[in-house]
């Protein structure tokens, strides 16, 4: 597996080679070449914007299928906190949890329960490391990937605590082994995910050697299957829920920060907003905050591309649902959790640099600057690059040429015909 793995696939038959995705990509990672959209893997941060914006449905998220999880003898479902925001008039999370069991899972382990543990750990960690402030949230894998390639100076501010879903997976497997006596590999830990970024994070973990998650299902696919079961489980009485207000709140922007019980935070969501905050943070325009919560999707995890409900509606549903819940139901209470902290550090990957050393880069940038002056500056995208500047950089990188610009090509053809006429 490689560190630039991403979870976006292209259905070539459906791709028209239009400019929607290349214009929307926040890291300019997509080019249209030979009429089809190609992702430059090292630039991609798995934000899912291209999936969201493709009107031809050619961009697809990669995730596992229900068939993929059949092989496990004992299956544990890990619903994301945002999953609860997908349902109308849901007043009790146990209805969803019981329905997951009815539809074939052997047990459930709420990611929101592990989120409450992460909130506790984060409070302690931030208190004990005052000089590392402000800490940047790391639950969203896209944020970690973005900082890794674009904000090297902020790497030291990343909160080095594993994401709730990873801790939930660790605890769920332990619980299942103890309960069933089965070998750990016979147990399938299945995350019900709002986004494909988590799929790459499972297949190539950024901060641990191996993920404890065995499969990732899309919320939108589980949603259609679970609804009939929820009608049956609405009247059940088994209590499976292990989380309260803090855990459930993680499903939307501001929830993680809220769990830190401090006012000294900001919470930004939507990839463009996030990039603006990181730029300002890097330039020290934002100071005196303890915590920066960042979510790549608008609204937070409720805005993930694998969700069903409008993110803002889902956020409001979560708010209603948690109203009468206790503050938190899960606590660390002295337990030691394996893999609670990052095993590996994040390393800066300067993927955007033009040359292999400073001199080469300088020369290439000089050349790109000359090329930009000849380009029309329309940023029309017809060449397959998102902007004229991106085309100029592609040219000096040796992967495009000036005649990819339709305007320069037209001028060139006009000049040729004029020359021919003059003969």
């Amino acid at each position: 597996m490689d560190k630039f793995l991403n979870s976006v696939r292209l259905d070539s038959d459906l791709c028209k080679g239009c400019i929607n995705c290349i214009k929307r990509c926040p890291t300019q990672a997509i080019r249209v070449r030979n009429g089809k959209a190609h992702i430059i893997a090292p630039f991609c941060i798995d934000c899912g914007e291209c999936i969201r914006v493709c009107s031809h449905h050619a961009k697809k998220a990669d995730y596992d299928s229900f068939e993929d999880i059949e092989k496990f003898k004992y299956k544990v479902a890990l619903p994301a906190p945002s999953f609860y925001g997908q349902f109308n008039n849901l007043h009790d999370t146990d209805i969803v949890l019981r329905a997951l069991i009815s539809m074939g899972f052997d047990d459930v382990y709420e990611v929101s329960a592990a989120a409450e543990l992460v909130s506790e750990m984060s409070r302690e960690y931030i208190n004990n490391h005052p000089y590392g402030k402000p800490f940047i949230s790391t639950a969203c894998p896209t944020i970690v990937k973005l900082i890794r390639v674009r904000f090297p100076n902020l790497i030291e501010h990343l909160l080095p605590i594993s994401a709730p879903v990873d801790i939930a997976a660790e605890l769920a497997r332990k619980k299942a082994v103890k309960k069933t006596g089965l070998a750990p590999e016979d147990i399938g830990i299945v995350f019900i995910s709002p986004c494909p970024a988590k799929v790459s994070a499972v297949r190539f973990p950024l901060t641990s050697e191996k993920s404890q998650i065995d499969a990732v299902l899309a919320i939108k696919e589980v949603y259609t299957r679970i609804l009939p079961f929820m009608k049956e489980t609405a009247n059940g009485s088994e209590e499976l829920s292990m989380s309260g207000k803090i855990g459930i709140s993680w499903g939307a922007s501001g929830g993680e920060a809220g769990g830190l019980l401090t006012d000294s935070f900001l919470a930004a969501d939507g990839i463009e907003n996030v990039i603006n905050v990181l730029e300002d943070l890097e330039d020290q325009k934002i100071t005196q905050l303890d915590f920066i919560e960042l979510n790549a999707c608008s609204g937070g995890c409720v805005g993930g591309v694998l969700q069903v409900e409008n993110p803002y509606v889902a956020k409001s549903k979560l708010k209603k649902l948690r109203k009468y819940m206790p503050v938190a139901k899960s606590h660390i209470e002295g337990q030691v959790i394996d893999g609670a902290f990052w095993e590996n550090e994040i390393e800066y990957l300067p993927v955007f640099r033009l040359g292999s050393d400073l001199m080469e880069s300088l020369a290439k940038m000089e050349k790109a600057d000359e090329i930009i002056k000849r380009l029309p500056g329309l940023d029309c995208g017809s060449c397959g690059a998102p902007t004229c500047k991106a085309l100029a950089e592609d040219i000096v990188r040796g992967v495009a040429n000036e005649k990819d610009c339709v305007h320069l090509l037209r001028d060139y053809i006009h000049k040729m015909t004029d020359d021919l006429k003059g003969l």
């Binding site: 100076n153 330039d283 292999s356 880069s361 300088l362 940038m365 950089e393």
Partner: protein, 140 residues
């Protein structure tokens, strides 16, 4: 020796655009694979300078030269000039108006921060004529 030169015009009193020039330079240095710490120093020092030009001098021009060894920033304005450089270099000293302070600027850290984040700094100022600040950040 090859070098890259860029010219920026800093607009009068438009705070929303202040920072555009330093952002652009930051992006260029990143594409060059420049050391992250160097990028950070340049971005902070240049942004402070840009804001200073907007607050005190109704804008000006910035010339940036990138060489394999240095990044040279020349910030030139036609503002009122600095009456007492020694005082202006003191942390916390500011002549910014109440209006500017209410926007969160004018904390008196502009010049001290520019000095802190650059490796060399020189100020040329003539009262009533203008100020030219030259900052150099060394590539590592």
């Amino acid at each position: 020796m090859s070098s890259l030169k860029f010219h920026y015009v800093v607009d009068k009193t438009d705070f929303t655009r202040a920072g555009e020039a330093s952002s652009d330079v930051k992006g260029k240095l990143r594409k060059m694979g420049c050391d992250p710490e160097v990028i950070r120093k340049v971005a902070i020092a240049m942004y402070e300078g840009e804001i200073n030009m907007v607050i005190h001098a109704k804008g000006g021009v910035i010339d940036v030269e990138i060489t394999p060894t240095d990044i040279i920033l020349v910030l030139k304005d036609n503002g009122p000039g600095i009456a007492d450089i020694e005082k202006a270099m003191q942390a916390g000293y500011s002549t910014a108006s109440e209006n500017i302070r209410s926007l969160g600027f004018g904390a008196g850290m502009g010049l001290p921060n520019m000095k802190k984040y650059s490796d060399e700094m020189n100020i040329d100022t003539v009262l009533g004529v203008g100020t030219t600040v030259t900052m150099v950040v060394h590539m590592k």
